[in-house]
């Protein structure tokens, strides 16, 4: 069956065959509870710990620094709230940015309601936060800095290494949500100087519902869920061993193939960006050109409602996004684009194209072929409002 052209890989990715094979194998072959003493349990435990070693090695960490979670959102919650609760007697100030994923932003909101003070750093026109803004925001009572590695809507990569240096120098715990970055750009926790780093499997051709949190040795967190002694008491509950094994396989493949896939993704991205800019006027490319993920392209089409574009493309079998999948259905313009200083109407006239390893140049050419007519027609409807 023709499944159409999928250009929403930042929302999620198709599970690749090797990953599914690993999942199926463990699901049926290694069903034991990894906490059981018998052989069945030991088999599961072995898969679990081998997977942990794999994940750790792919981000430059030690195996006992990786906690498995249900995904990026849980990892962000455990990192941000877990760190804040442990350190609340030392201070109650948290630094983050205006462009974080809701998984971080809403944790910060919850902390504010609990009496914490949160500084939301702005970003520049390219959707980047400046390290010196972080430095300036640090106070004696600052206990945590959380800045995403790469933005999920624009792909702009943040100066994590510089911020990591500042955090270390000031003795502040540093978390980064690297859900979009891992498997797309090199990630090494020691080079970056991060204490906590969130990962998700389904953004790198793994299954949904599994992810991880890197926790640097010596960094303590309060658990959010109570139960048995799994995952160093930080994340109790019988381990999702098939998901964890599949996650490990996915991160291994993604990082091994990173360089070659990156080249392919960048080629697709530039091909689409150039094709659009050649054929459609009044388009704006959002985000950083120099410091950007290879797989995300965000563009505004002046005078057009992004949602109308999305629906028209979908009816032609082309799947894109107006922002993040988590905010679809929202009438409000993207908080990320607004933070970049883009005016609301233009923000609502935006599309996010995000590419994957399976996309082809022919698919990109198909988009370039159909998009100009749709934009022209929508602009010609005479409704000056770009949005509903």
């Amino acid at each position: 069956m023709d499944r159409g052209i999928y250009l929403d890989n930042a929302a999620t990715t198709p599970v690749r065959q090797e990953v599914q094979d690993t999942f199926d194998e463990v699901l049926s072959g290694t069903f034991g509870n990894a906490s059981s003493i018998h052989t069945f349990g030991q088999d599961a435990k072995r898969v679990l710990e081998e997977s942990r070693e794999t994940v750790a090695s792919r981000i430059g960490a030690q195996p006992d620094e990786v906690i498995f979670t249900s995904g990026g959102t849980e990892s962000d919650n455990l990192a941000v709230r877990g760190a804040a609760y442990v350190l609340k007697d030392r201070g109650r100030h948290v630094i983050t940015t205006a462009i974080e994923h809701p998984a971080v932003l809403n944790c910060c909101g919850a902390l504010e309601r609990e009496g914490f003070d949160v500084t939301y750093l702005p970003v520049d026109l390219e959707c980047r936060v400046h390290p010196d803004w972080v430095l300036d925001a640090i106070r004696p009572d600052t206990i945590l800095i959380t800045v995403m590695f790469a933005n999920n809507e624009t792909g702009s990569v943040q100066p994590i290494e510089e911020i990591g240096g500042i955090a270390r120098q000031k003795g502040v715990i540093f978390h980064t949500d690297a859900v979009q970055a891992v498997g797309k750009v090199p990630v090494d926790v020691d080079d970056l100087g991060v204490d906590l780093l969130s990962i998700s499997a389904h953004k790198i051709y793994g299954p949904k519902g599994i992810g991880g949190l890197y926790v640097r040795k010596g960094t303590t967190l309060d658990p959010l869920v109570y139960g048995g002694h799994h995952e160093k008491n930080l994340r109790p509950g019988t381990e999702n061993v098939p998901g964890i094994a599949a996650f490990a396989r996915a991160i291994e493949l993604a990082t091994v193939e990173l360089a070659s896939v990156k080249e392919h993704l960048e080629l697709l991205k530039e091909r689409l960006a150039n094709g659009i800019q050649e054929r459609i006027d009044m388009v704006h490319r959002n985000g950083s050109r120099d410091s950007c993920l290879p797989n995300i392209l965000n563009m505004s089409f002046s005078g057009v409602d992004g949602e109308a574009l999305l629906l028209n493309l979908d009816l032609m079998g082309i799947a894109v996004s107006t922002g993040s999948a988590c905010s679809s259905g929202a009438t409000e313009p993207s908080h990320v684009l607004l933070a970049m200083g883009i005016e609301p109407l233009l923000a609502q006239a935006s599309l996010r194209f995000s590419f994957g390893r399976e996309n082809t140049e022919e698919e990109i050419d198909r988009v370039i072929e159909v998009l100009p007519d749709i934009v022209k027609r929508l602009r010609g409807l005479g409704d000056s409002r770009a949005v509903r």
Binding site: L311, T331, R388
Partner: protein, 360 residues
């Protein structure tokens, strides 16, 4: 030219069949579900038309009809043009009809704009009404649905010519029974789904409770007065009452009393026994929309419907200035509530409609 039609799908039998009919008559159908309120707002039981459960029903219908389906967010517009209107109208002592602005603004402005953006020629809904375009003057006519028990033209009277030109009501040609049979024939599981009732965004509480929650403050109780002006009871706040209401007045007199007037100025409710109800010869309408003709200069012979499903009565429609009109009844009628819609017909054709205006 794409033969595309957008169908507003609620998950109910009527809009599902509308989509099915259009698909089977050679149209490329795109179903759209309207998200109107936050799912947190305790909406979403079977009988309401816009809850999450309803959207999942609509999604299943679209799947079984093999048509694309999207749920789009209209919460902001719905709040601004339906909920806020509903609340403020009640607070003014009026009895609003929220379905009227919902059809006019949410479906035939907001959703129609989306439909046009999708290159659709028409927007279809599951209303029991008909649009006819066969007159020499080229005006689009709005007619009653053929099922007299189900006719919903009453809720559609504010539509403009431009809106009617793009409107299609496939089940308007059918009886409810035929619709259900067709749903069964199409294999739709919703064929025996109960009718949606009441106001879709209010669930599990009274209108007044809802308004109180939305208004953020408690209502002020006030006096209930009889014809002589004597206080015979206390009301709980104006939004609990509507003109013509008998129940729930809490009066300690044996005779059944009816609300005859609601006065927001003095926060008072006036009541009278049934035989003493002051009948009205005439009502004043505001926001009048003419469909059958452009605004007439002379009085027009019509039948008037003063509320959904009430029998029509003979009247003259007398056009006045600035979108107002008088409806002069042949026989005096029980009082109508300000805020309520009155729709005027020439047999099965909607001549015009408007909102009852309070007399000063």
């Amino acid at each position: 030219m794409i033969n595309r039609v957008v169908v507003a799908m609620s998950g109910g039998v009527d809009s599902s069949v509308a989509a099915g009919i259009l698909r089977d008559t050679g149209h490329e159908v795109v179903g759209i579900g309207l998200q109107l309120v936050d799912s947190l707002d305790s909406v979403g039981t079977e009988r309401s038309c816009c809850g999450i459960g309803a959207m999942e029903d609509a999604r299943r219908v679209a799947e079984s009809l093999d048509i694309p389906f999207y749920v789009l967010n209209f919460k902001e517009a719905f709040k601004a043009s339906v909920i806020d209107y509903f609340v403020s109208s009640y607070l003014k002592g009026e009895t609003p009809n929220p379905c009227v602005p919902c059809n006019k603004v949410i479906k035939f402005e907001e959703l129609l704009r989306v439909a046009k953006g999708l290159e659709a020629r028409f927007l279809a809904t599951g209303h029991y009404a008909r649009v006819v375009h066969d007159r020499p003057d080229g005006r689009y006519q709005l007619k009653k649905g053929v099922d007299p028990d189900k006719d919903q033209s009453y809720f559609l009277y504010p539509l403009s010519q431009e809106q009617l030109a793009h409107a299609v009501f496939p089940v308007g040609e059918m009886t409810k029974k035929e619709t259900r049979e067709l749903a069964e024939g199409l294999g739709l599981k919703v064929h025996d789904k109960p009718e949606s009732q009441d106001i879709c965004f209010i669930d599990g509480c009274s209108y007044a409770e809802y308004i109180e929650d939305n208004n953020g403050s408690r209502f002020t109780p006030g006096p209930i007065l009889d014809e002589s002006g004597s206080v015979i009871g206390e009301h709980r706040g104006l939004p609990f009452y509507t003109v013509g209401q008998r129940r729930g007045l809490g009066l300690k007199i044996p005779k059944p009393m009816y609300v005859t007037a609601i006065d927001p100025e003095s926060n008072s409710i006036y009541v009278a026994p049934h035989g003493h109800l002051k009948r009205e010869d005439c009502v004043l309408l505001d926001r009048v929309n003419y469909i059958a003709t452009t605004g007439p200069k002379m009085p027009v012979r019509v039948t008037a419907r003063t509320r959904h499903r009430s029998p029509e009565v003979d009247a003259f429609l007398v056009p006045l200035d600035e979108g107002t009109a008088h409806v002069e009844f042949d026989e005096p009628q029980e009082p109508t509530a300000p805020g309520q819609s009155v729709v005027l017909y020439d047999r099965d054709t909607v001549v015009a409609g408007g909102v009852v205006k309070r007399r000063d």
